[in-house]
Amino acid sequence: MTTAKTDGAAGEGPAAPASPAGPRERARLRRRAARRRGGGWWPYAFLAPWFVGLFGLTIYPMLDSLYLSFTDFDLLTPARWIGGQNYTHMFSDDPVFWDSVHATLLYVLVSVPLKLALALGVAILLNRPLKGIGVYRAAFYLPSLLGGAVAIAIVWRQVFGGDGLFNDFLGWFGVKGQDWISSPDTSIYTLILLAVWQFGTPMVIFLAGLKQLPRDVYEAAAIDGAGTLTRFFRITLPLLTPIVFFNLVLQVIDGFKTFTPAYVVSNGTGGPLNSTMLYSLYLYKKGFTDLQMGYASALAWVLFLVIAGFTAVNFVASRYWVHYDD
């Protein structure tokens, strides 16, 4: 019966007819078979814009950047092949690279767990049949809608600046604040706080997950006398682990790519003392300000490998803590 799969365009009938059929009957069968196989070339025409996008805007630029990472491309004059120099320079004598790695790891490893914990906590609170619950959900999601906005980062800079709102607030309690943004010991934590504050997206996903948890399990547990905490740790959390995993993977990737807040809050400098020099910001500075696009491409590929590595570790580790019910 393999012929049915391979002869499509040849116009043969469907699988060698066992019984004699008239020409009209054969044509009808042929049309039906064509429909079943997908109908010829025209679906691809509809897909063409997507293919153009995939190859023209994603795959080709990616390969181009891989090539450029082995050159000294400066954006203005033709690229020159320099082999692995960009990569060796990065690891052997670029202290700012290591500053940016340090800032980024700190940012991701602190902000992601906090953000997920807050998102889950608020999702549980919002999973109750309260009056006007829709308003609360919208209110808690709002910061994430504004998330990528430059405006919020500018507000952040004002709030945590030396004469900002946050210090006014501390002043009520007689605490004398400092300039949180321009001090190298605290500046990264203002960015982490901004990230944690924007917990709306994982919260919505948690909320969707909570809605799907089977009621009967809780009823059974209640009958057995399980308290709120027991129910959370023994039922809710285990059943929710696939969703925790999903959020974790996405937030880690997002964290590694964070650019806008670092750029805006530090005025594009990554300072003070490179404490807010998140990796993407350093990459941008190298490419567009210092005109080292080849080096920036190499940085981008290292980021790609690091994110791929973290994600792989997440997937492997998930075997030990993520529970699927099937």
Partner: protein, 443 residues
């Protein structure tokens, strides 16, 4: 039965897709290519500046268009932040402007990369540079060719909050003052204000406005003539950082958090926020007026206190107008440069918005219409440039900054902060500074 997707598969697939989607842009953002110039009829001109400068440019260009009806000008303007990032991207994408305002600190870099058009063949024909001094034209000259027409004289001046000084009962220092005089008055400001105000913003990491002048007073240029090395010694930088460390210790200069906040943000400058009365940042009063309400005055960068001190100040070219090489409208661009260099209406429209006008004729043309602060600014610039012209022991004007110069300026700033925040000793930071600077200039 196999068509039912298990939750495990669903999450795996969804995560995988999300990973792919999330990663794509990180990589593609970094690819680029070079393309050919575009031609859509009108000439494109870009500049950076303040609202006042934008308005003046537009007013002058309207006059130009009226006199030259065949040339249509499309203008694009912004603040300084991101201006050159955008220019770089446009050059790479083949859509660079025909005519642009250029920074004296960057002209050499772009000229050597072949981005800018040489203008020598127009000089004396459609480009009249009568009255421009040789030292002034040097600001736009790279490897013997002219790549930009200077808009005016740029000198390094300290900006002083005069009304603030008077309120504390202090007198403006004499313009022939030394670094020790600066220290004295800055300490007095802190004392007389009851500790509310520090005297002068921290200059330890400030390059163009002060450290370069300090090094030149010792006969050391910032960069060596070939641009491949630093021109000053570790001893010079050590002395400099020690001076500022003692300034911070005496509270004559503000703590590092204030210095750091002002990096790239003039609105946080110590004089603007009222934490100091003296600043090295010329932007507080520059292209388009003042960003503080205080009455301002100006002084040359201090010099001296040691034997054999030389004249450390120098004159450069304000901003420049340059044409791009790929442009097909260079002849028209040159006409516009000529218009801004010589035409009385353009000179009056621009006033001091692009620096002190470059020629004697232009300066006398605008002097009548200036407000008091503008007049003080112009008088001090005039004083400094005459002193420089008369000096017998001054180094020649600095060579155009080499590639990587702005990274080194940033490095100096960050190094001074590292010392100020107490993260590094001066000794340790010195060797790190020279190592990294070497690295940048070699790459």
């Amino acid at each position: 039965m196999g068509h039912q997707i298990s939750r495990r598969t669903l999450f795996r697939t969804a995560s995988g897709l999300a990973v792919a989607g999330a990663l794509g842009p990180a990589l593609t953002a970094c690819a680029g290519g070079t393309g050919a110039g575009s031609d859509n009829g009108s000439l494109t001109m870009t500049w950076w500046g303040s609202d006042e400068r934008h308005a003046a440019y537009k007013k002058a260009l309207a006059t130009f268009e009226k006199n030259n009806p065949k040339i249509k000008i499309e203008t694009r303007y912004s603040g300084y932040d991101g201006y050159f990032d955008k220019f770089n991207t446009q050059v790479a994408g083949g859509s660079a402007p025909d005519l642009l305002q250029m920074d004296t600190a960057l002209v050499a870099q772009y000229a050597r990369k072949g981005i800018l058009a040489p203008l020598d063949s127009y000089v004396g024909n459609s480009l009249d540079l009568t009255g421009f001094s040789k030292t002034l034209l040097a600001a736009g000259t790279v490897d013997g060719k002219l790549y930009g027409v200077p808009s005016g004289i740029g000198v390094n001046q300290l900006t002083v909050n005069r009304s603030g000084l008077e309120k504390l009962g202090l007198k403006l220092p004499d313009r022939e003052w030394t670094w020790n005089d600066l220290k004295d008055i800055a300490t007095q400001v802190h004392k007389k204000s009851g500790g509310r105000i520090h005297g002068v913003d921290d200059g330890g990491g400030s390059t163009l406005q002060c450290f370069e002048i300090f090094a030149r007073e010792k006969g050391q240029p910032f960069f060596s003539d070939d641009g491949k090395k630093l021109g000053f010694t570790a001893d010079t930088l050590q002395e400099w950082w020690e001076f500022w460390a003692s300034m911070r210790k005496d509270q004559a200069s503000p703590p590092p958090a204030i210095t750091s906040a002002a990096h790239n943000d003039l609105t946080k400058n110590a004089v603007v926020i009222g934490k100091a009365l003296f600043t090295f940042d010329s932007g507080v009063y520059g292209a388009g007026g003042s960003i503080t309400d205080a009455q301002l005055d100006f002084l040359p960068t201090p010099q001296g206190d040691f034997s054999g001190a030389r004249e450390g100040n120098f004159v450069n070219g304000g901003v420049l107008l340059s044409a791009t090489k790929a442009s097909k409208k260079t002849a028209d661009s040159v006409k516009i440069m000529d218009f801004f260099a010589q035409d009385p209406t353009a000179i009056e429209d621009m006033r001091l918005l692009r620096g002190i006008p470059p020629t004697e004729k232009a300066r006398s043309l605008i002097s009548a219409g200036l407000n008091e602060t503008d007049r003080r600014n112009m008088a001090m610039a005039d004083y400094i440039s005459q002193r420089v012209a008369k000096a017998t022991n001054a180094l020649p004007a600095p060579v155009p900054p080499p590639k990587g110069a702005d990274q080194i300026w940033d490095l100096l700033f960050e190094s001074n902060l590292a010392v100020a925040f107490g993260k590094k000793t001066i000794k340790a930071q010195l060797s790190e500074f020279f190592d990294q600077a070497q690295n940048i200039l070699a790459g």
